[in-house]
């Protein structure tokens, strides 16, 4: 957890979790970015949270892309043949 000095300029954990996507997307202002990183560097809970969000994205990237039902693909290929 963060130390208690200067609470007004520091992010709370509850505020930080709402900024994680902006952080990962590189969409934070320079000031927000440094407040974010200052918090992460001293707060284990939020460090783990950020890691979990990264892991979530990584796992989603490994999901197989859904396959097309055979019938639907055949119909489309028939349409393609008809088009030519």
């Amino acid at each position: 957890m963060s130390d208690r000095t200067d609470q007004t300029t520091q992010l709370s954990c509850q505020e930080l979790v709402e900024l994680v996507t902006d952080y990962l997307e590189g969409a934070l202002s320079a000031e927000e970015h440094s407040r974010f990183e200052a918090h992460i560097s001293i707060c284990d809970g939020c460090g783990v949270y950020l890691e979990q969000m990264r892991t979530t994205v990584r796992l989603l990237g490994k999901l197989p892309v859904a396959a097309l039902p055979a019938g639907a693909e055949r119909d489309l290929l028939d349409a393609f043949r008809g088009w030519r």
């Binding site: 957890m1 505020e15 809970g45």
Partner: protein, 211 residues
């Protein structure tokens, strides 16, 4: 997986020459995304599949006139959006404009408020009550975890599902998603944030129970 631009002109040429494999490749690559995006506009999976099917027919009809001013992908998704909107109108459905154009209107917390101390807490305002725990790496690669992820994606509102699918499952850039869905950068990010937060929550509750 994405078709890069250099490959796109070759693909286009092959399609125009009637190359069936090229068309099949295109269909396999985009069909799942087309169905997911169509679900934003139409209420059922079956209706979304029909819209996607119709989109391909629209693609074939327009292929000779496609001038390549946008990417092939953006063009295909524009056709889909038009067909889906027309169909929603025909079915007398109110278009979920606000769902895409103003997703931040209703606030939605990434993490339940009861996981945090009160914002007015004298010592630790808004700090974790129960801190997140690191996940066991071996559980992450299990088939159960994969099934859970798919379930969590399926449970999302259609607009969030479309954005997270295109960005994180299909690996599109934020710009490509913005173009395909015709939404602002901010709205794209809000939808992505909410979707990812919910999927993380589903994983946390599963992996937490699993220990």
């Amino acid at each position: 997986m994405a078709l890069v631009e250099a490959v796109e002109s070759e693909l286009l040429e092959a399609l125009r020459a009637g190359d069936e494999d090229a068309f099949a490749q295109l269909v396999r690559e985009y069909q799942p995304s087309l169905v997911r995006v169509a679900r934003i506009y139409v209420p059922t999976q079956a209706a979304a599949e029909e819209v996607a099917q119709e989109t391909w027919l629209g693609v074939l009809k327009g292929l000779d006139r496609f001038e390549g001013r946008s990417s092939l992908r953006t063009w295909i998704f524009r056709i889909l959006t038009n067909i889906a909107k027309t169909r929603a109108q025909r079915d007398g459905r109110t278009l979920p404009f606000s769902a895409l154009q103003d997703p931040g209107r209703v606030p939605e917390a990434a993490v339940d408020a009861d996981r945090f101390l009160d914002p007015e807490h004298p010592r630790w305002p808004g700090h974790w009550t129960v801190r997140p725990e690191p996940w066991p790496e071996d559980a992450l690669i299990s088939a159960e975890t994969q099934a859970l992820l798919e379930e969590a994606i399926e449970a999302l509102p259609a607009n969030q599902r479309a954005v997270i699918s295109l960005r994180d499952i299909e690996g599109w850039s934020s710009e490509e998603v913005r173009n395909a869905l015709e939404i602002s950068e901010t709205n794209q990010r809000v939808l992505l944030h909410r979707a990812r937060s919910k999927v993380r929550r589903a994983l946390e509750s599963y992996l937490g129970d699993n220990k």
